[in-house]
Point group: C2
Chain length 359, copies 2
DNA sequence: TTTTATAATGTGCACGCACACATTTTAATT
DNA sequence: AATTAAAATGTGTGCGTGCACATTATAAAA
């Protein structure tokens, strides 16, 4: 028969102090490990702490400290790409949501295809005296430099969109790209009775710098390697939207009468390929791409795009910032990696996603 | 050239008082419409309020009032159905999340197929002096009675799972069931080249009381009505898991060599049908059902179930409670209806959903 | 023992708001 | 003009923490 504070509720620091026979100040020092506590006192407080499950009142805590935190967010210029425009939506949402908690959010836009601009922004960020950074580290080496500098200055940071596992980030928010490609393969092969040719299209300025796109391709191919009942030939295309020969390359690709389906690894590329398909009047070629951008939705509803995989850029940035806020404000640690579900968007459920407030 | 408090930030009640030339008490009375304010003072305060966009510090507010709110949650007994067990997970999550904010959550379980038990719980809830109710109102008439009583006692309530639009609920959380059925139809017809028979199976004790299941069926049929290139015959089956003739009825259904696919409208029914299919060794019949219950996931990974539509019971209850908390604690109004996206679960993305912390 | 440095402990205020209560102003009545 | 009631306004305290600062105990040196 032991006595236990089962219903232990609402015990304040003051109560702990009384129970331990010390002052609130001493309890505070123990709680925050500030030192200057005798062994005897420490023991007494610890004993009470173990008996009573103390849960600090987070509201009181954040009111008391009521520090104004500044968070910096680094993403590619949202004006240059609708994908990043959606990311910015999440930032703006977070901004207004957290404003009342004294959180100030500053955005830093670099150029999507210009590594040097990332370095420039890194310097800007460093000199801005921020309390935390949330960043989409799309340039590997440049990001490593950023991380090193942040760590030197003891500034916590959160990653999203692109994972860099060697970083000491508080958290990463994004998707499992291998499985993303795998899923695309499955969806593209649905309803395909006999084999043929499938194309993987990367529409990016610099594919060799984009490990994440290749990861999607790897997943895509993996699906067919494990299904020996399917007989598909898979071909990779690296296209650049600025390439003057783009049209020729497409003619090449779409001219193949064996072509059964196309998987596009980027959101912006998806609508470009869709428009090409539309122009060529090819309606019987499957098309899978990424994200609920306006252009993509248009082609989805007209049936040219069959499926979209939603990467949820808006929610990624929003959650990244929220994790940082929770860390700064409430000292709550976010999960080290938070992988978003691979959401499948099709004509029939697209509206349910569009209207959903939780996205 | 007008002067505007654009950067209006962090203005406290005290500041408004000073600006308006009154005391903080007067501002407080205006803010909360407590009366006892002269016209002159009211005008002065209002003028300042309009110039400066006052945003109360919600943290300070909730600390100050620091009332202990009690919320009641009514759902069917989670032990009788894994779907409701997941719902309970959301309740438990909310319970631990909000505990530190002084929110107390009490659960009230009624019997899934017993309307009278709902009435009994209604009385219990009423006598429990709760500050808000979150309920899955699966019995229409009985729920109306509950609502009436709650309204008489000025107790706010939130609905989830089943919508009852005539209620004056703060909010409803759930899905658009018509589109849910529509989506099921699309997915089931994927890869079906020629026609055949499709079955809609309702596995419920009392289908006539379950308008929501019929809504799914309506959506399902609607898909084929709009696609005259498909030639499917659709047949409806109302089965009860307790029916002694269940096996016979299944033999009847599965014996039909024209059967191409089955759509099951409930989560529990999905695994039951799946097990029957497995027993009959029918692997070429498409199967679509609901929710990521353990049994369903087993059949999904073995390929008997092709797709699951995720209703997200856990998140529904969690969000329902969160809406109530935000209303009580911060006076924040939730959207009148919050429709969850129709999430498509398949072998290839199921893991990304299972590991996702945001679900 | 007295002095002095240092470690340990305790006290009090601010954070912004809500609400109770005290005080002052106004108007009505004698 | 004096009294009184009511209306309007102002003041102060608590909510639980965090943190700065004041105070006390302890031990070492004189």
């Amino acid at each position: 028969m032991f006595i236990r504070a089962v219903n232990a509720k609402n015990l304040r620091i003051k109560d702990i102090a009384k129970l331990a026979g010390v002052s609130a100040g001493t309890v505070d020092r123990v709680l925050h490990d500030r030192g200057k506590v005798s062994e005897k006192a420490l023991e007494k407080v610890m004993k009470v702490m173990n008996e009573i499950e103390y849960k600090p009142n987070l509201i009181a805590r954040s009111l008391s400290s009521s520090k104004k935190y500044r968070i910096g967010v680094m993403i590619p210029n949202p004006e240059s790409d609708p994908y990043w425009a959606q990311t910015e939506q999440g930032i703006l949402q977070a901004k207004s949501d957290w404003a009342q908690y004294g959180i100030i959010i500053d955005s830093f836009f670099f150029e999507q295809y210009n590594k040097e601009s990332f370095n420039l922004k890194t310097l800007e960020v460093l000199s801005s005296k921020l309390d935390g950074i949330v960043v989409a580290p799309i340039f590997y080496d440049e990001a490593l430099l950023l991380f090193k500098l942040l760590e030197n200055n003891n500034i916590p940071y959160v990653l999203f969109n692109t994972n860099i596992p060697v970083a000491h980030a508080l958290s990463f928010i994004g998707q499992d790209l291998f499985h993303s490609g795998l899923l695309a393969a499955k969806l593209l092969s649905l309803g395909q009775v006999d084999g043929g040719k499938l194309a993987v299209v990367h529409m990016d300025e610099d594919i060799h710098n984009s490990i994440h796109l290749l990861e999607k391709e790897r997943g895509f191919c993996d699906y067919f390697n494990n299904k020996n009942n399917f007989h598909f030939e898979i071909q990779e295309f690296n296209l650049s939207p600025k390439d003057p020969h783009l049209n020729n390359q497409f003619n090449n690709l779409l001219g193949d009468s064996n072509l059964r389906g196309i998987f596009v690894s980027t959101s912006k590329g998806t609508s470009i390929v869709a428009s090409m398909l539309e122009n060529h009047g090819k309606k019987n070629i499957g098309l899978i791409g990424y994200d609920m951008l306006d252009d993509n939705l248009k082609y989805l509803s007209s049936g040219i795009i069959d499926f979209l995989i939603n990467q949820n850029p808006k929610r990624q940035s929003f959650l990244g910032i929220s994790h940082m806020v929770n860390y700064l404000l409430f000292k709550k640690l976010a999960p080290k990696t938070e992988l978003f579900p691979l959401e499948i968007i099709t004509q029939q459920n697209v509206d349910s996603y569009k209207s959903s407030a939780i996205h």
